[in-house]
């Protein structure tokens, strides 16, 4: 699922939320945070990246399987992370099982 299926307002909500986590919990400079920025270039080591993804998962009450999004992979950007989050949110909303999940 691509980000185009989400409205631009929910996209920016997701992006702003993860930007806030990076700034507040991981001391990343706000001007280093952009949709095109690679996770591997935020100045976080592999352990901090895992903690970051963990914090994101907790904030959105979801799981991002590593086979789908490995934060240590070179090309993964914050934009990709937003897409993965939005896809999960959409799945939950679409699923009749969502209420039980």
């Amino acid at each position: 699922m691509s980000s185009s299926s989400s409205s631009s307002s929910s996209s920016s909500t997701v992006f702003n939320s993860i930007a806030a986590i990076l700034v507040n919990q991981f001391d990343v400079a706000r001007d280093a945070i952009a949709p095109g920025a690679a996770l591997s270039e935020l100045g976080l080591d592999s352990l901090s990246l895992m903690e970051f993804v963990f914090a994101v998962e907790d904030a959105f009450h979801l799981r991002l399987p590593e086979d789908r999004l490995d934060p240590r992979e070179a090309g993964i950007t914050l934009g990709h992370l937003c897409e993965a989050i939005e896809a999960q949110i959409d799945c939950k909303l679409d699923s009749p099982m969502a209420a039980q999940a």
Binding site: F26, D27, L44, L47, S48, M50, E51, F54
Partner: protein
């Protein structure tokens, strides 16, 4: 190398008596206790009320070089050590990194994080964080301190219960005297006022009940009506330097404070019951290490936990080594028992006693146990302008004894 002075060039604190030397002195010399009552309610257990001395400290405000989430105790350690290094003027480049060590003691390092982890796993069925191991490992604080100060000479965590930080400080002193390193950031912390740890101490029946309406008087060392200790928390850090290193930096002056002697041994007689004979051997060995006679010690900061057996053993051992001549105080009455961090906090009390030339009173000690024939400082602080040496005792579960002797360079 016995007798060589190791200089104390910086002190940092996070204690129930405050985070500055000024606030610490204020409570220390007036005997003002920070002990309060705290109710503990855990499902399945009878509700209990404990006497505790907690720090007004915001661990979440402390950031580390590793950027990891910090255990409360690790945050305290960082805050105290940063203050000590700043006071010592220990800037980057002023010490050879390979000649700088970290020697740090805690009894239950990571207790808060471990309690959180077990609650998350068994209580809330939540998953482990990726960094859980790094927050609960006993050397978590040591690792952060080494990162913070770029200390490449040594980074060692000591765990011997209530003697942990006294041993850490003494072992750093030996490493400096032996020429292995020039300087060290030393001390200890304990942050264990968690439900699980508090309930465990209560179960052991060694903690004092807070008297109704007067919780600050719960811990009464050497008193005829003593009833155990108040759990505390906190951290204290010192910067230690060899005479040559401190002199070369211009960090030694006419009123400098230094460590003069250290000894550690083990009773090896019982897991908890203290053995006076072992304590006597440790105090005598510390005096020999300092190259001084018992009569040159002007004050003793006792371990003084206010337990029935602990105070009796220590009163007997002090009496045997010092007779009745040397005044004795026990400061756990006001800052609580910080376990592994206690030796460092009490060494700071010892150094402040030397710096001020005033002996702190033992709070809550109105009527000493008639069996103890010692000169307890109680009621008011006592002037001691010619104080040269003070001895600090730390005696641990497991039988480890650690004795530190601190000195002041000249008579004022």
């Amino acid at each position: 190398m016995s007798g060589a002075r190791v200089h104390v060039t910086g002190i940092g604190l996070v204690t129930p008596l405050g985070g500055t030397v000024e606030s610490f002195d204020d409570a220390l010399f007036s005997g003002r206790s920070a002990v309060r009552a705290r109710a503990l309610e855990i499902a399945g257990l009878d509700p209990i009320t404990l006497a505790v001395a907690a720090c007004d400290f915001d661990a979440a405000a402390v950031r580390s070089n590793s950027r990891l989430p910090l255990d409360r105790g690790t945050a305290m350690a960082l805050a105290a050590a940063r203050d000590a290094a700043a006071q010592a003027g220990l800037a980057a480049g002023s010490v050879d990194p390979e000649r700088l060590g970290i020697f740090w003691g805690s009894g239950l390092a990571g207790a808060g994080s471990f309690d959180d982890t077990t609650r998350a796993l068994y209580g809330e069925q939540r998953r482990m964080r990726p960094t859980t191991v790094l927050t609960v490992m006993p050397n978590a604080a040591v690792a952060e301190l080494a990162l913070q100060f770029g200390a490449q000479g040594a980074a060692i965590a000591y765990a011997c219960a209530c003697a942990s930080s006294a041993v850490a400080i003494g072992e750093a002193m030996r490493a400096i005297r032996g020429g292995w390193i020039d300087a060290a950031i030393v001390g200890g912390h304990e942050a264990m006022l968690t439900p699980g740890v508090m309930a465990s101490w209560h179960a052991m029946r060694v903690t004092a009940p807070p008297p109704p309406g007067a919780p600050a008087s719960a811990c009464r060392p050497f008193s005829s009506d003593r009833a155990g200790f108040a759990l505390g928390e906190g951290a204290a850090a010192l910067v230690l330097e060899s005479e040559a290193h401190a002199s070369a930096r211009g960090a030694v002056n006419a009123s400098s404070l230094f460590l003069a002697g250290y000894a550690t041994n083990c009773d090896a007689t019982h897991i908890t019951n203290p053995d006076s004979a072992g304590q006597v051997r440790a105090m005598r060995a510390a005096l020999r290490d300092a190259g001084i006679e018992a009569a040159q010690v002007g004050h003793i900061n006792a371990h003084g936990t206010a337990t029935t057996a602990g105070d009796a053993a220590e009163a007997a051992s002090i009496r045997e080594v010092f007779g009745r001549a040397t005044p004795v105080s026990a400061t756990k009455a006001i800052h609580g028992h910080a376990l592994g961090g206690g030796g460092a906090i009490e060494l700071v009390a010892t150094l402040r006693t030397l710096a001020q030339g005033v002996l702190p009173p033992t709070a809550n000690l109105r009527v000493p146990d008639a069996a103890f024939d010692l000169d307890f400082v109680r009621g008011e602080p006592r002037e001691a302008r010619h104080l040269r040496y003070v001895l600090s005792n730390s005696f641990a579960f497991g039988g480890t004894n650690a004795v530190l002797v601190a000195g002041r360079a000249i008579d004022r």
